[in-house]
Structure formats: structure tokens, C-alpha cells
Amino acid sequence: MADYVLEVKNVDKVYGHGETEVYALRNLSFSVKRGEFMLIVGSSGSGKSTLLNMIGLLDRPTRGKVIIDGVDTSDLNDNELSTFRNSKLGFIFQFSNLLSDLTVLENVTLPRKIQGTVHNSAEEARTLLKTVGLETQMNKFANQISGGQAQRVAITRALINKPSIVLADEPTGNLDSISAETTVQLLKSLNRKLYQTFIIVTHDRHQFGDVDKVVTIKDGRILKEEVEAKMQ
């Protein structure tokens, strides 16, 4: 039996009622194995970010199930979802979304503080920040570093709790080409090094090169699902 870290089963997301009803996602099903580097691609408005919100448990599907690490998340209440997000998921957003009133180090250790496992968290955060080349920026406030640096901090924050899945929504969308390339390489190297599952939403499939899986979305449906997708 395959070691699936994520199973999306018949997921619909519907906005509005009656005549104003709009399907953002329609009957989506796919699964992701542990340690895979997967892309969700599609044009703007295709539903890829909505799908990421469902997988990230930031929003609930209208129908269907999202199963993470064997847990059916539709059965979880709001508090349980928060705890689950904290321990099982890591988030990387397009605009890094660091808390500007906290330092780099405090931002990275925040998920651990939320979890209540602060022991050694600062040390682990320092090690991770060193991995991404930010050991000299640790005590700066988040709004005192560049966009590329902020995105690397966001990556470290996503990894600090050793989540089952790291979700990234257009992680290079707000970066210049050099920073974008650095970020892509960093994500891929972390995937190999930590055997960490990454699910990346992007509209630029070519930026990521060879990956384990690509799911293409169009009009809320899966258009194509490629396994061990090689760049043509």
C-alpha cells in the first residue's frame, strides 16, 4: 500500500447559492506520496489557489474529503484544525507574510511557540536560517530584509515544525528572477535533503524543471496529472 501523505477525494468547492452558484473546484481527486515534490499549475482563475486553501485547511470543501497523514480533516473542529495546521502543514505565501513586528528569528520560531514546544526551538531555527544563508539577519525585523531574504525566512518558518507537507502559493511570484531561481533551488534541495513533501502552486511550470508530479487545473477540474514529470 502506497504511503500517501495527502489524499484529495471528490472535492467540490461551491460559492454562492441557487442561480449565483459557482463551482471553483469540481470533483477533484488526487493523492500525493510522502517526500514528493508536486506542482499544481494552471492559469489565473483556474482554481489552483482555492485548491491549496482546501489542502492547507484554511478553507473547507463544500463536498468531498481532504485526508492528511490518514486523518480525515472534515471531522475536525476549528481548534483541532488549528492544531493540525500547526503540526502537519507548513505554509509559504507569495508575499512571504512574515510578521513585521517580530524579528527574523522570532518569526521562524513562532510555529514552535504556538505548538508550545519552545525547547531548543531557537537553536533549531538558527540552524535552519544558516542553511538558507540568513544567519547574519536573525535579529533584524522582518521589514528590514529584502523580499528574497523574507521568502527564505518564510521557508524556514514553514519547516521548523517538521510538517508532513509544505504548501507554497506562488513562492516566486513576487521575486526578481535571481531570487526566484535561488528560491526554487532551495525548495528542491530541501525536498531532497529532508525528504519533505512539497506542494507548490504556480502558473510558471517551467521555473521548477523536473518534479515528481504535476497536476494541471483548468476551470476547477483536473486537466492533466503527470507523474515523474520531466521538462520537455
Binding site: N53, G56, L58, D59, D78, N79, S82, T83, R85, N86, S87, F91, F93, F95, N97, L98, L99, S100, D101, L102, E106, L110, P111, K113, I114, Q115, R157
Partner: protein, 397 residues
């Protein structure tokens, strides 16, 4: 430090404008209450002080519906044996008619209160003697001290001059008596000495034909908190129905005067507390602005695992910071104002010196109230913050 406290403190301390505005709102509310307290409680205490000093002492002994016939010497000696009693003095009150004149012409005839005092005992039991600005206190028979207004109405007689006053004795007969002015008294406030005449108690007893009688005995204590004890001791020692003594503490004897002031103070305090409510609205507004400006941060916190109650606590901690800084600032300003009022011997309307005290109980109560109010005012904005769904919050910005 708890991460919610850390984020709450950072959110507000790194928005200096919001912090200053919110803290000032709390501080000014405390200052208003403190200023009210200094002025109006100070005025109240000043009136109590003057009523004790001039009129009633700490304990005021009279006889129900009549004059005291028991020897004042016996009563004063008995009272002065109580350790809490500093001094006691007999008094008798009456009235006299005077002709008010302007430039030597009589313009009206009116009655003024006359207070008969024991020249020796009264100096110990009251501070009335210290109000004589010109001349001296009554010392010998047929001497009078005129209140400043009475002196003015009489055409301004000087110390050493004689005046003629018309009294009525206890039988209703007019008694004309020529008396020597030995001093002019001037007091601030509402105790009415400026409208009175002070004279030797034995002279007044003789004029109104009440030999050996006393209207009241004022008792000054060295420990004012023991007034009820002294009152109880006295009434226990003189229980005879024949004596029908009535003993009252200052709160009881000056009740009529003080009742009105107490209502006034309550009203003024209410105004102060309404001011505090206004400051709470200011805190609500500033906190709502904070929630709006931090929507994305709230979304991030929720996304990475913070629960709704954690978000609530962030803004409650923020309210605590505002409350603590505002209370500290308000206390500093309030204490500074109190110190200023005390050092400068602040007066009410330029006359009555206020009785300024550092009322720490009241200061702490006001601080706690302001602190709690800042937290309570943060509950609604904090609640609104918890209602933000992570996915919606993330879309902002």
C-alpha cells in the same frame, strides 16, 4: 514570555502613534478623576476641617431641645480625662441686632450670630482664636471680636473702639450693652465667622440671663478616628434622662452642610467616570484600527496554527499594555497635580484653602478601574479579530 503577550506588546509598542493616543486617553481620564478629587474632595475636607476647627470640634455635645444645666467645669474635666481628648470647651450661642451703616448713615438693622466662648479653653479646643487678624482674641468680660463683614457693616470700628449691641434675653427682653472691640476675625469659606461676633461666654450668659448654662461643648480629639468611641463613652457616663445629652460626631453634627457637598462630589465623580467611559471608546476605536491594520498578520497566525482564543489574547494583552501605560502616566500626572495643589496651598475661588491629601486608595482604585476599562474596551476589537477567517484575512493587503 508567552508568544501572545509578545506579539500583543510588539503590535502596540511598534505603533507609537496608536500607543500614545490610547494611553493618553486612559491617562487623561485618570487625571480628570484626580483633579476632581483634589478640588472637590479637597473642598469637602476643607469644610469638614473648618467645621471641626471653628464650630463643632470632633465631637459636639448638646442637650436635646434645651441648654445644658450641668456644670461645664464638671463636663469638661470629665471629658479631658479620656486619653483621646485633646481639649473641650463650652459655648453658648445667641444673636444681636446691629445697625449697618454706610458713611455714618444707618441703612438697615439686622441680626448677627453671637458665639460665647471660654477665652482659655476655647484656644485649646478650636482654632477660632487664630482667625483674628487684627487685635487679639476675647480675653476679658465685655470684649468682642467682630467678624470682618460685621465690622464693615458697623462702619469699620477699630480695635479699642466700643460698640453698642442689642440682645434679647431668654425672657424676650431687650438688653443693650456697650462692648469693647478687641479683634477682627477673617475666615475663608462657609463657616460664617465673618458674619458673627465672638465674645466672652460669661458676659453672654449674663446678658441673656442664662447663668451657669451652656449650649454646647465642643471636644477636640488627638485621634479623630476615635470620635465614635468618645461619643459612646460620654453617653454611657451620662445616661440620666434628666440630662438628655446629645453627642454627635462631626459627620453627624455637620450633616446638613455636608450632605449637599457629598451629593455634589458624587455628581462630579460621575462626570469623571463618564469621562473614563469616553476614553474607553477611544481605546475601542484605536484597537479596531489596530485589528484592521493587522488583518493579514492575524491571517498568518491563524494559518500557522493560532487558535481564535490566541488571537483574542493578543489584543487583550495589547489592551493591558495600553491600560498599564495609561494608568502609570495618569497616576504620575494626577500625583504631580496633587503635589502642586498641596505645595501651593491651592484655594477654592481664591479664598478657602483646600485640604489636599494623597488619597492612595482612591488613586489605586482609579488606576485599577482605568486598567480594567482598557482591557474591557479591547474585548470587542479582539472578538472581531477572532472572527476573521484565515483565508479571508490572507486575501487582505
Amino acid at each position: 514570555m508567552d508568544y501572545r503577550a509578545q506579539i500583543g506588546i510588539r503590535f502596540i509598542t511598534r505603533r507609537k502613534g496608536s500607543l500614545i493616543a490610547a494611553s493618553l486617553a486612559v491617562a487623561i481620564a485618570i487625571l480628570v478623576v484626580q483633579v476632581n478629587s483634589v478640588i472637590f474632595q479637597g473642598l469637602y475636607d476643607a469644610i469638614v476641617r473648618d467645621q471641626i476647627n471653628y464650630r463643632f470640634g470632633h465631637v459636639y455635645i448638646t442637650r436635646e431641645e434645651d441648654f445644658i444645666t450641668k456644670s461645664d467645669f464638671v463636663l469638661v474635666n470629665w471629658l479631658e480625662r479620656i486619653p483621646y481628648v485633646q481639649a473641650a470647651a463650652p459655648r453658648i450661642d445667641s444673636s444681636a441686632s446691629i445697625n449697618a451703616t454706610i458713611d455714618g448713615k444707618i441703612i438697615r438693622d439686622y441680626s448677627v450670630p453671637v458665639i460665647g466662648v471660654d477665652p482659655v479653653l476655647d484656644r485649646e479646643a478650636s482654632t477660632m482664636a487664630q482667625t483674628v487678624g487684627d487685635g487679639q482674641y476675647v480675653s476679658y468680660r465685655n470684649s468682642v471680636v467682630l467678624g470682618a463683614i460685621v465690622d464693615r457693616d458697623l462702619g469699620g470700628p477699630q480695635v479699642g473702639d466700643t460698640i453698642k449691641l442689642k440682645f434679647k434675653d431668654q425672657h424676650g427682653n431687650d438688653v443693650l450693652r456697650r462692648l469693647t472691640v478687641v479683634g477682627i476675625t477673617s475666615t475663608a469659606g462657609s463657616v460664617g465667622l465673618d458674619n458673627s461676633i465672638i465674645m466672652n461666654i460669661d458676659t453672654l450668659r449674663e446678658i441673656i440671663d442664662r447663668p451657669h448654662q451652656t449650649q454646647s461643648i465642643i471636644v477636640r480629639l488627638n485621634d479623630p478616628t476615635k470620635d465614635q468611641d468618645v461619643k459612646d463613652l460620654f453617653l454611657a457616663a451620662f445616661p440620666s434622662n434628666a440630662d438628655k445629652f446629645k453627642a454627635q460626631t462631626i459627620e453627624e453634627s455637620a450633616e446638613t452642610t455636608l450632605r449637599g457637598f457629598r451629593s455634589g462630589i458624587a455628581l462630579i465623580n460621575l462626570v469623571g467616570y463618564f469621562g473614563m467611559m469616553s476614553s474607553a471608546f477611544a481605546v475601542v476605536t484605536i484597537q479596531m484600527m489596530q485589528v484592521t491594520s493587522k488583518t493579514r498578520d492575524i491571517g498568518v497566525m491563524r494559518a500557522i496554527g493560532s487558535k481564535r482564543k490566541d488571537v483574542l489574547l493578543v489584543f487583550i494583552f495589547q489592551g493591558m499594555v495600553i491600560g498599564a501605560i495609561g494608568a502609570g502616566l495618569g497616576t504620575a500626572m494626577g500625583v504631580a497635580y496633587t503635589a502642586y495643589a498641596k505645595e501651593t496651598h491651592m484655594t477654592f475661588q481664591g479664598s478657602l484653602p483646600l485640604e489636599v491629601k494623597y488619597n492612595w486608595t482612591s488613586i489605586i482604585q482609579t488606576d485599577i478601574m482605568a486598567f480594567v476599562l482598557a482591557i474591557v474596551a479591547s474585548i470587542y476589537p479582539a472578538y472581531k479579530a477572532t472572527k476573521l477567517e484565515p483565508v479571508e484575512a490572507m486575501r487582505v493587503g
